[in-house]
Every structure is written in structure tokens, then in C-alpha cells.
Symmetry: D2
Subunit: 259 residues, 4 copies
């Protein structure tokens, strides 16, 4: 053995006649008494969620659920067409798109908010971040959106909702606004604050750790992808997508590329 300590779990246990989630008896305490959002949050955060936690989680999960025929949804539909006996495989394939470039980007933004909050001078740190990304010619995570300009309406609404919640500390929302100001200054123009940026701030406000945030995108997108698969069952698009892509991208002989 190369490990010495025995890990433990606090998520769930069972006897022949009962199931326990954390401290709660599933049948007695949860079924018919709690919503899905409530139990999910209880299990992820390891504490009883407050009403404000549920409001923030619900709005975040709704916002991340859908953006139409994204890479994630297209992949799920193509896999479903290929293996319809295997719905879970189609969802799994689509979820693999929740990465560092799309959907999962709230994690990258939240790391920046962590930096700003840990720094002695928030403004200076935000300006340093903006300069770093400008030097890399790379968008700052949480900013810019190729489909929503000049304002991402989801981001605006999320921040408005977050600010109206008086039980939240507001420090991560302020860190995001500080970063937004610095990003605009570095660019010399207003840069769209996008939905994943606002999600990073709001999930942080309810004490979701940065490295857990991507999980909310995964849960939400799982629901969105199931809806895409249901639509694919009723109004199939897979073969059409295949034909369209195959005809849109020409074959060129390997040598021809270098010419």
C-alpha cells in the first residue's frame, strides 16, 4: 500500500431499509419536502442551504442551461444519432465541451477574483490582470462574447439580482466590477462583461469554491442536453448536420496545402 490513511465519505449511506444523505433520512426528511436544487446544494456545499443560496443557484443553473446549437449540443445530437440506445453517452459527449474555452470559463474568471480579493490593493491588482491579458492578446476570462454585444443581458441581470440580495457580502461582485473597470481602461473602450463572469461572482458570493464552479455548468448543461436529445428524437437533425458539415469542408490533397 502506498496510502496510509483511510478516506471516508459523508454523502450517503444505506441499510437494508433506509437511505441517508449526509445527516438527512432520504425518505423522512427530503422526499416531498425539499426541491432538487436544495438537495443538490446540501450535498455539494455540505450544509443546509439558505433561501438566498437557492435563489442564486436556480438563476445560475437556468442561465447556463442553453445557448442553442452550441458545440456541446451538436456533439450530443451526433452521438445520439450514432448510438440511440445509449442516451447517457450522448449527454456525456456533450458535457465534455464544458471546458476552459466555453461554459466552464467561470472558473478562470473566479481565479482572477480570488487574486483581486487576496491583494492589498484591489484596483492595482485588477489593472495588473488587465495588462497581463492585453500583453497576451487574449480576452480576460469573464469578458467578451462573440454573440452578445455590447452588453450580455444575462450578466447585467445576474449582477442586479446579486446586488439586491442583502444577505450576500457583495465582495466578489465588487471585485468583478473592479476588474471590469480595469479591463475597459486597458482596452480604451467598454468590453462586454459576459454571463460566465457574473456567474463566477455570484457563485462565489454563496461560497462555492472556485474549483467547484464548473460543476454547476455541468449539472445545468446536462439538463439542457437532455432537452436537445428529446428534440432530436422528435425532429432529427443528426444526418442533416453530418451532410452539411461534410459538404461545407472540402478535401484537399495533403501536398496541396503547402502550395
Amino acid at each position: 500500500m502506498t496510502t496510509k490513511t483511510i478516506p471516508t465519505t459523508s454523502l450517503c449511506t444505506h441499510t437494508l431499509t433506509s437511505l441517508t444523505y449526509g445527516d438527512s433520512n432520504l425518505v423522512e426528511d427530503l422526499m416531498g419536502k425539499k426541491t432538487f436544487t436544495e438537495v443538490m446544494l446540501m450535498q455539494i456545499l455540505g450544509r443546509t442551504p439558505r433561501p438566498v443560496d437557492l435563489r442564486i443557484t436556480d438563476v445560475v443553473l437556468i442561465v447556463l442551461m442553453e445557448h442553442g446549437l452550441t458545440p456541446s449540443a451538436i456533439a450530443a445530437r451526433l452521438i445520439y444519432m450514432s448510438a440511440p440506445e445509449n442516451l447517457q453517452g450522448a449527454v456525456s459527449a456533450g458535457l465534455l465541451a464544458v471546458g476552459s474555452s466555453f461554459v466552464g470559463t467561470m472558473e478562470n474568471c473566479s481565479k482572477l477574483l480570488d487574486r483581486i480579493l487576496a491583494a492589498p490593493d484591489a484596483d492595482a491588482e485588477a489593472q495588473a490582470i488587465a495588462r497581463e491579458y492585453k500583453a497576451l492578446k487574449s480576452p480576460v476570462p469573464g469578458f467578451g462574447h462573440h454573440l452578445h454585444k455590447p452588453v450580455d443581458p444575462r450578466a447585467y441581470k445576474l449582477l442586479e439580482m446579486g446586488k439586491a440580495e442583502h444577505e450576500l457580502q457583495g465582495h466578489r461582485i465588487r471585485a468583478l466590477e473592479t476588474l471590469s473597470k480595469a479591463v475597459d481602461e486597458a482596452a480604451g473602450r467598454a468590453i462586454t462583461l459576459n454571463a460566465t463572469g457574473a456567474v463566477a461572482a455570484l457563485l462565489g458570493e454563496i461560497e462555492v469554491p472556485t474549483n467547484v464552479m464548473r460543476g454547476f455548468a455541468v449539472i445545468s448543461r446536462a439538463a439542457g442536453l437532455v432537452a436537445h436529445i428529446v428534440e432530436e428524437q422528435n425532429n432529427p437533425s443528426g444526418r442533416f448536420i453530418w451532410d452539411t458539415v461534410e459538404h461545407a469542408i472540402p478535401f484537399v490533397r495533403p501536398g496541396a496545402k503547402q502550395e
Copy 2:
């Protein structure tokens, strides 16, 4: 092109300044006004869900979320240890376990309920099903559970809740009870009606098609697996699982097996 008709989507569209889910403006109609369960169900069923639909969906999603260190959770934890930069990969791996043998079995049970409801004589059809599986020496989907005996407490509670909902027709719950009676008779003793059997009946009562049901297990388990990954972050088990399994299963030389 081998396809003639152009498919359409009704799930989501966007302009530079708005997002629409189905018939609803995301920012105006949904954010802060609807729960995750509500929007998910609206998108999957293509209609505004009733309160009873939400109650049934919430309880089903809660029940399917967890069963401790299942194959699904173990796989997710091992993949997370191997590629922690990639939370979505760990969830995807775990979701691939939602198949025909565990968790996803409500689909198999629901097909039997479809058969019973389509038959002229429900009792005779249920008895025929029970005989078929007995001849195959195979458990009837929705019945039996190696960890819950003699009664699966989740199943009992689910059916109780379903029967208390007067807006539901009750025909699928009755079909399941008819099947349960036939299964007991064929076995000559009481056979545990398990949670996936009750889930099959209840999701059918709110008009979820049989081939969509597995999607609810996928959504729910995605949330459960995120909680397992959070626990893995705080209390790692992956290396211990690896060591334990490697030491528990001995290597025998290929020739030695046949001796």
C-alpha cells in the same frame, strides 16, 4: 445531400441583446422567476409544467441522485484523480454508468408498463411478462434490489406520493401494481419493488415518454457526481481505491486459469 428536409429547433435562439428559451425571454420571463426544475421541465416536455409536474420531478431527481460509492461514483473519483484539471471528464465518465443494468433501468420497466397499458387484459399481460422473465431466470426490470430488502423504502414513498396527487391519472401506477402482483405470484413470494420501478410509473404519470426517462437519471446523477468530486477534493479516495482494488484482485498467469 442524402437528406431533403431541413430540421428546426425550438429550444433556444439569441440575438445580440437577448436569449429566448422556447417561448420565453430568458432575462424577462425566467431569471429570478422560475426554478431550475421548472425551466428544465419546460424545455424537456415542451410545455409549461404544472405544480404537480414539479413535485414529481423534484422527488424523482432527489431519489436518483445518490446511492453512495456506486460504480458511477467510483469511476468519477478515479477519473478526477487522474485528470483533476478536467472536472467535466470525471462527471462524464460516471454518467456512462447510467445504463441498462443500474440507474437507467426505469426505461426497461416503463416499456413493460407500456405493454400492460396497451394490452386488452392488463392482468394477463402482467402475468405473461412475469412468466417470460422467470423463464429467462432474469429479474423483472423495476423489481429486486441487492441492497434493499424486503422493501425499498424509496419505492414505497414514491408510490404513496404519486397516489396522493389527484391531478394524475394513476393508470401507470396501477399498471405497476398489477405487474408487482404478477411478479410476486410467479415467484411464490414477495419481490421488492425497487425505486427505479416506482420512478418509471411516476415519470410516466407526468407524461415523460419512456425513451426520455433515462435522461432524468442522467441529470440527477450529474448533481450527485459533482458532490462526490467535491468530497474527493477535500478528502481524496482515488489512490486508496486504486491500491485497494489492485491488492484485492490477484494476477494469475494466463495458463493457470484453465487448470
Copy 3:
């Protein structure tokens, strides 16, 4: 514990200073002495492969590797764009397309060959199969191809190669030809025997069990998908595919569909 017997493994074991694959010392017996195909087949079949086994396996793996911008390749490219830090996720997503409808269909065809070989009268059984699928208005697995007509050149070559190997029994190739004749008769015209049909026959000739065959498609396609990802690194298509698909499939309001 619900299991009594302890499973064993014969694939691999290790000490601090050695690795053993089956009966072979990795460093002494395999490295520099055996090809990838040879070791793979040794591990999968649990025996030392003959030269004829290697020739058949190599040609099968080559044939299954590529078919251009298939659903599998499109999905892998989209996932790679979304999470480029995670090459394995893109391959995994693409492999999930190796299902019952494409690529993995040799398994379905091989089951029919199993039936024909087990039947007292091969011709009668083949005719029964052809009639069954005709009644279902469903193509017989291994027959028909929407992109290769009237002859799948890969299938023709595979069978020619299989028949030239005198160490093979030829009984599964003959079963496939019997089936092909019956399919043509039932249709009243020549139906294309496709590559997966020929693969089913050839893998069976080298004693690959039916329920293992899909694994060869998975291995081969993994290699093909890595090549797609390399091309995606050098000549990105993901964003173009997204734009193309999103513009090709119109949004219609949910109500509008029923009108």
C-alpha cells in the same frame, strides 16, 4: 459482501523492477520484438497470434480508421475546440459514436452469422433473416451504405483477402455470402454488402467473439480521431462547424411546429 468468489486478472502484473503482460516480460520479450498489433491481439485473444491473425487484424483496423467528417470526427473536433487542454476528452466523445447505428454495426451482423452457423439449414436461416428485416423495413446489418453504391470497395477487398488465407476455415465468410444471396433475393435486386459486414466475417474467422468485435472499431477509430485532432490543431474547423450548423438549422417557436 454480495459476491463470493474473488476475480483474477491475467493481463498484467508488476514488481518494482519488471512488468509482465500475460506470460511475457514486457522489456525482455515484447519491446523491440513485437508490433503494436501483435501485443494488442495477444492481450485481447489471450493467445499468441499467428501471422494470419495479424494480417487480418491490420487490414480490419485500417479499414475502420477513417471515413472523413463523420459524426464521430465532427464531435471530436467540436469538443477539442471547447476543451483543448483535454485531448483525451475529444477522443472519448468521438468514440461514443461507435454504436449500434454506425461503425459498431459489425456486431449486429456477426450475430446474424452466429445464427446462420448454428442453424441446421444455413440457406433457410439466411432467408428467414432477410424476411424478418424486410418485414421491419430495416436494412440487414452489414448491408447497404448511403455513401457507397453499388459496391463497397472495402468489403470486396476484405472478402478477397479473407478467402486467400488458407489457414482460415472460411465458414463465416461463406455464411456472409449465404446471407448476401438471401438479402438480394428478398429485395429483388443486388444490395451492397458493406465494410462492417465483411469485417464481421473476417474477425470471426480469426476467432474474435461477436461481443468483442466493436472493440476493434474503438481502437481503430481512436487512431483516426487523433489524426483529426492534429488536423484541428493545424487547420481549425470547430468554429466554422458551429457557425455553419447554427445558421443552417432555423429556430421556430414551439407553437409554430404544430401548425
Copy 4:
């Protein structure tokens, strides 16, 4: 459209009666004439591989195929038990373990070799790298192995084979040896050079780009996982693994952990 240029592909095209891989007619030029390794390498590297390329690729693929009951293999077996109709899902799940922590680590090591080769003073750069990782208290990628000490026999053999190939430049092997010397000096003792370190050097010698290397682990491990699934079919371990893990990891109530 947000993209202007139309991507192209050079991997594969087809007509009704032919398939072309790159510049080669599949039926005329490849089937029966080339091995799987040869065609795979042709497609990935975009050139006709030399015999030395094939020798290096074969030995690398053999070495990466197996290491017994790894997290990857355990996950694949558990998923196969849960959804046996879906072999590709089990392989996909297992491949998701080819990440930054295991198997896929040759990519991390190769980045260090890239740094050493790009630096004006290779020794100084190697020493800088060794110091950086020492400061992080983190093992240098390509060095250390919890199961092979003091020498990883695979690494030793790989480097011996690489050095015996006179067509290779040897510069990446020398960079690895420079790094190895610096790592030993920084530690004050000999640190195991592991198999993924040697793989990084050898794949680099045949001009596989750093960000493609993980693909070779994926292809090789796909073959290894298929063998595990075949063993699982014949000698099932999934239920035993589930029971063993569930019994080895105790449940503690959430509050109890903090005490």
C-alpha cells in the same frame, strides 16, 4: 458568420466507389500492404513514415498499453458492468483518465525538453527546471514512479532503443539525460526516470509535436482497455470492486469530520 476562411481536410475523402486516405487509395495502396501502425502514423504525421518511425511508435504503443488494474482500467470495468450493451462507453470512460497526472504526463515532460532545447545553455535551463519543481515540492514530469524503483525498466530499454537508432538526431534524448542529471543533483540522490519521460524523448525524436503526444497514450490505452473488457466478460470483477470499495471506505456523519 464570425469566421471568414473555410477550413479544409486532408485526411480522407470518398466517392461512391472509392476511399482515399491522404494521398493513398485505401483499397489499392493500403489494404493488405500497410500495417495499422503505418497507416495511423501516416495520418497523424501527414507523411510516409520511415521504418525507424514505425519501430519507435510500436515500442511506445506497447509500453503505454498496460499497467494492470489502474484507475483507467477500474473505471472501464465498472462502466462496462453498468452498461454492457455499450462497450464504447466503457473504453471512453477509461480513456478520460489519460490526463495530466498519469499516462498523459509525457506531454508535461516534453514541454520541459522543448524549453531545454530552446535555451542557449541546456545545462543551466535543466538546473533551473529542477530548482523550480523542488521549490514547488512537486515531482518533475517524467521522473519518479510510485511503483517502479529505483529504475523504471521500461524507461531504460526505451532510451537504449532510441540511442541505437542512428537515423534519429538524438537531441531530445540528450535533453532528457541533461534534465535527469539536474534532477538528481537537485535531489541529492538518483531519481527514477520513468517511462513517460522516455516516451516524451522518443516521440519527439520522430517529430511528434508535444501537444500530439498524449494521443499516442490514448490509442494505446484504448487497446489495453478493450483487453480489460474482454477479461471482464469472461471473469467479471465489477461487482467485487464495488463491494470491496464500498466496504473499505466508511461513512461518517458530516458533523463528525470536523471534530
